[in-house]
Symmetry: C2
């Protein structure tokens, strides 16, 4: 279990005569008003509920591992829904095909599978992985619009990676919390925090920040990325970055990176995957 | 000079008191109705003419190296325009910045530069490079929509590359001509023709076909790609592919690949760049 005081809510049991199906999906966040259902019906959740309703012929409500904001993408969002046993002849593994045939191309179901009552997309999440992609503004192509964070230039990656290592471990992340975060304690665990060089399919240079944690504060990843990029562009040292983290003062964060570069890339439900962290800390 | 009988038209001289400016640009073809001006004003050319008109305060008409169809993208399209000397205080090299500030993000000017009267974006073109990106359908992400050609699966790349080598050289490409092509002779030179493995920015596998030629027939690249992919998926041999090329019969081409995967990637105006081809053939 995570070392932090972020509490996992109690599970709601699966109702009698119902079965649970788990979905893994990717979506282009630039075309939706976020994950969550919206009054205007353009949340990713709304579209999934509608198409699942068509397949099963009854109202279906998906539960995601967590929300993503407007403009934020997913490479591996996970969701589940409950439907009456026998409500469809489509096997749980074939739901992915049936959904993809109905969904816009901006949402792709990567996998569908049977789940049991002990699984809950949100409440049994053990870790969340995000990736943030950045490019230099003058190396940007039209295809980057809405999909990559653009900065004046790309700073030394060793400096960025030096900052990122400071975020590893158990910390009070108040410095990177949004004023809108209402989760109480800002203490969270970060299991992976690193910058890598990459290339897009046109072989253009980019950087990608990968972070895995037990849970994140509202806007925490974007605030960490924005602060790392801006501090690096100003030539700030690793000690300068550590001072921002240690201050527990949200006025010290330099900026919040835009939604466009952020991808919810993986959800882990495996209790053992980050057990080494517990033992190490 | 190219060995084929494709004739280069005579240059129209630069009018007295005028100067010529050259642009290199990229655009997302999924958002435009092709390069060429359209009655509905959504050709890339229309947008450029409009924004250049704002900058210079007089009507400007850009001339591209050639058209791209609706849905086809550009990584390195080249165009030029003529304006009266002294019509703007913006230096020719700074036009890129001024245009990018006014253009939608779906069109990016990569470079602007002064050109002399001996340069003509279309009529002095020595070679055109296209790239075509393909992925397996079940490995596609939402971000691939409109930007990658999707196929049932990716065949052996060595087989595709074996086909591609047959296209190298001087050939009558009637087999890959569209019925709509009106250019007379179908003999063209191909200087580069090869398949490579690649990755997108999410490290997902893709293939890229790169082809450089002196000129192409209407839909020729898409017909060659579609035929190579379909034949490879059926397990056809290199000899089978060569028989299609040699037949000079357009009913033998298997299919025309979609516009989404095609990128006009580079225009060469260098007479010496492919001189080795002349000497070799």
């Amino acid at each position: 279990m995570a070392r932090t005081d972020w509490k996992r809510p109690a599970l709601t049991p699966l109702a009698e005569g119902m079965k649970r199906v788990r979905l893994t999906l990717s979506y282009d966040g630039s075309l939706f008003n976020g994950w969550q259902s919206q009054d205007n019906g353009v949340g990713v959740q709304d579209v999934l509920n509608e198409k699942l309703g068509e397949i099963y012929g009854l109202p279906v409500r998906v539960q995601g591992s967590g929300r993503t904001d407007a403009g934020v993408h997913a490479l591996g969002q996970v969701a589940h829904y409950d439907v009456p046993i026998g409500s469809s002849r489509i096997g749980d593994e074939r739901v992915a095909l049936a959904l993809n045939a109905r969904l816009p191309h901006s949402i792709r179901i990567l996998e569908s599978a049977s789940a049991d009552a002990s699984f809950h997309a949100r409440f049994t999440t053990m870790a969340r992985e995000y990736k943030y992609f950045v490019k230099a503004q003058d190396e940007a192509l039209p295809f980057d619009e809405g999909h990559v964070g653009l900065y004046r230039r790309l700073p030394e990656i060793a400096l960025l990676d030096g900052y990122a290592r400071q975020l590893f471990g158990t910390h009070d992340f108040t410095s990177f919390a949004s004023a809108r975060d209402q989760s109480g304690s800002a203490v969270r665990d970060i299991y992976v925090s690193r910058w890598d060089e990459g290339r897009d399919m046109f072989s253009r240079r980019l950087y990608v920040y990968t972070v895995v944690g037990n849970a994140f504060l509202y806007h925490q990843v974007r605030s960490m990325v924005g602060t790392m990029m801006c501090l690096a562009l100003k030539g700030g040292s690793v000690e300068d970055f550590k001072a921002i983290l240690d201050s527990k003062d949200r006025s010290r964060a330099l900026t919040t990176a835009g939604a466009a570069g952020l991808y919810l890339s993986r959800i882990s439900y495996d209790e053992t995957e980050y057990q080494w962290f517990e033992e190490m800390m």
